[in-house]
Subunit: 191 residues, 2 copies
């Protein structure tokens, strides 16, 4: 698929068909992830490939709990109606885990200290979502979880950082075609 | 260009030809940026397009200063030899600025609070680097600057967050072909 087509067509999907994602497709998505740039090429990412129902059920329960907590904290009415059942429905979730030890020069920054490993992981996630789209899958970048709880569910040690859960599968419904604001309205020029 | 080709071929470049990047190409790169996903589609990015010599000179001076500071703090010997002249040489730098007000549900997270806007900006940057590669340019994700200093240079107000400077131009030398570790060695499976 053409790069610009993938960039423009990719959308966040919250409804999946149960069809399993084959191993070759999973490998291609992980392969796309690791070609992202990272500070001093330190590749600060790890992955947990989740296809089992038990782990998905735990992830769903954690998200349900955080959703209720968030509704109470924020008062956002739409939160109460927001369903996270797709976490059980999706055939595949890939958790992206960051290693805060691999942040490079950024560890000495005065402000926003040591976040470069997270930026690298985010670039890897974008590669994954683009690759998934090109391979006929839809995806979702999901972050409604507590990191300590997610470490327990995924068996990740306390020094590592669960960045996001990426839901992947064939779309069960057409994803919402969210628009974008024209970048020119948010750009200044120093000529 | 095919998506997977762009993902795999893109490399960080530290040498540029002086050839100006035309406005249409700049627009296509910014357009690619804004199709990245963001929490609740809040699009937390802004851009500063830098082509003028004066701004590039200031950016170079800031990076030189931070490089020396980093060398003293880290004791990393390679830092002393690391030259940042490409900041003056590159025909185009696009600064990506994040808005911490646009972080969505993530503002209520207990750990890693309110960083989702940075992740969205990082995804936008990856789109920019891929787009640039497909358009025959090379790029570099550069972060060796102090954020307060960079706000002053770019005229960004104190509530916004300079995430990175993206150098862009025709490569003056073949970028280093940095390898990647096999993702399988960094993946666990929950089946």
């Amino acid at each position: 698929m053409d790069l610009f087509t993938a960039i423009k067509e990719r959308r966040s999907c919250r409804s999946y068909l149960p069809d399993a994602v084959d191993d070759e497709t999973i490998d291609r998505i992980l392969e796309a992830a690791v070609w992202a740039p990272s500070p001093a090429n330190n590749q600060p990412w790890e992955f947990v490939v989740i296809t089992g129902a038990e782990a998905k059920e735990k992830i769903f329960s954690e998200a349900e709990f955080r959703k209720k907590e968030l509704f109470e904290k924020s008062g956002w009415k739409w939160m109460d109606k927001y369903r996270v059942d797709f976490l059980k429905q999706t055939p595949l979730i890939i958790a992206v885990i960051g290693d805060p030890q691999k942040t490079g020069a950024d560890m000495f920054a005065e402000e926003g200290r040591g976040l470069a490993y997270q930026h690298a992981c985010a670039a890897a996630i974008q590669n994954m979502l683009l690759a998934a789209h090109a391979l006929g899958l839809a995806g979702l970048w999901f972050t409604l979880f507590d990191k300590t709880a997610m470490r327990q569910i995924l068996g990740v040690d306390s020094e590592k950082d669960p960045i996001a859960l990426i839901c992947l599968g064939k779309p069960g419904a057409e994803p919402l075609q969210t628009p974008r604001k024209d970048p020119k309205g948010r750009t200044t020029y120093m000529r």
